[in-house]
Symmetry: C2
Subunit: 191 residues, 2 copies
């Protein structure tokens, strides 16, 4: 049904390989037969964890994000290692960044955060039955963790204090889940 | 309060300048005094428009996004031109992509979609009092527009058919606005 929208790859090359970023430049054939260049970041994908305590409060992070030169309120998150299952990645990132482990894990949703210029996807999980332990941050990683009532986070989405997309979307989802309006869907195959 | 998290720029250089993407590589001083490299995309920012009809339905787009090789359901959106006001950009993009103009515009929120590797921000506006006109797509731009009830979009966020972050967040906001739970905030200065 989408033939009139579809772009087809003609050729491709990696035009930049940096420390972290890889830029791909493909020539595509447009729906009208003309050619165009599409340039985008190759990204392995990431996970974000919504760590929910039994009292309805949430484990959050505050982290300095250099590209925007300021501290963001965020859910724990991190990049998927090559070949890593997304749920294993979620468990690893939660433990590394916060020290917590969780007894129950539930898939929430998958989001695409920069569809114009990146192939990144983010997979969100809710983690419950939390137990505190020792965190082990990566070299060069600095972040604070704290516990917040969900109502505070909802208010911070409303008033613009929370602007990170995985965190905005995770807060909206937690509100839906905790109110009983939505049940998280089953985890799709291949995620 | 965030000195223990803050990273300070030591030097910077543009390491890749492509057709669309610019990659910046900065050396930073970490909170512990060590050095690290931060690599990120320089992006001018973008706007997204939530076009709301008087009957509560919404004007949407379907567009092929090459980095992910599939069609996405999206709100009208586009990059900010150099020096362009975000509201002017929203009006321009709505008209170019859909042909519609709007009598009333309201700021909704600002979001950051890739804080680990891009300085992009997206400014969302609600547009009401819509009047149909002629659209004028950019060269090489192909997209379908259609009208959908908000309930359909909410269901598509829940079931994973809508995964584009500006669209997920816009749908959650529209649900809050139309239910009367949230009033959009005033437009911040400098946006």
């Amino acid at each position: 049904m989408d033939a009139h929208l579809k772009e087809t790859q003609k050729d491709n090359r990696q035009v930049y390989t940096g420390h972290f970023l890889k830029v791909q430049q493909d020539t595509v054939i447009l729906p009208d037969g003309k050619h165009a260049v599409r340039e985008y970041i190759k990204h392995p994908g990431a996970v974000a964890v919504l760590p929910l305590f039994d009292d309805g409060s949430v484990l959050m992070e505050r982290q300095f994000r250099y590209p925007l030169h300021r501290v963001f309120i965020e859910f724990p998150a991190g990049k998927i290692d090559p070949g890593e299952d997304t749920l294993d990645c979620a468990k690893r990132e939660l433990q590394e960044e916060t020290g917590y482990t969780a007894a129950q894990w539930q898939y929430v949703c998958t989001i695409h955060n920069a569809i114009a210029y990146s192939d990144e996807h983010l997979v969100l999980y809710v983690a419950r039955g939390l137990t505190q332990g020792e965190r082990k941050l990566d070299e060069g990683e600095f972040l604070d963790i704290y516990k917040a009532p969900l109502e505070e986070l909802v208010e911070q989405v409303r008033n613009g204090e929370i602007t990170d997309v995985k965190t905005v979307i995770g807060v909206f989802w937690l509100e839906k889940i905790l109110s009983g309006a939505w049940t998280p869907p089953p985890r799709p195959a291949g995620i």
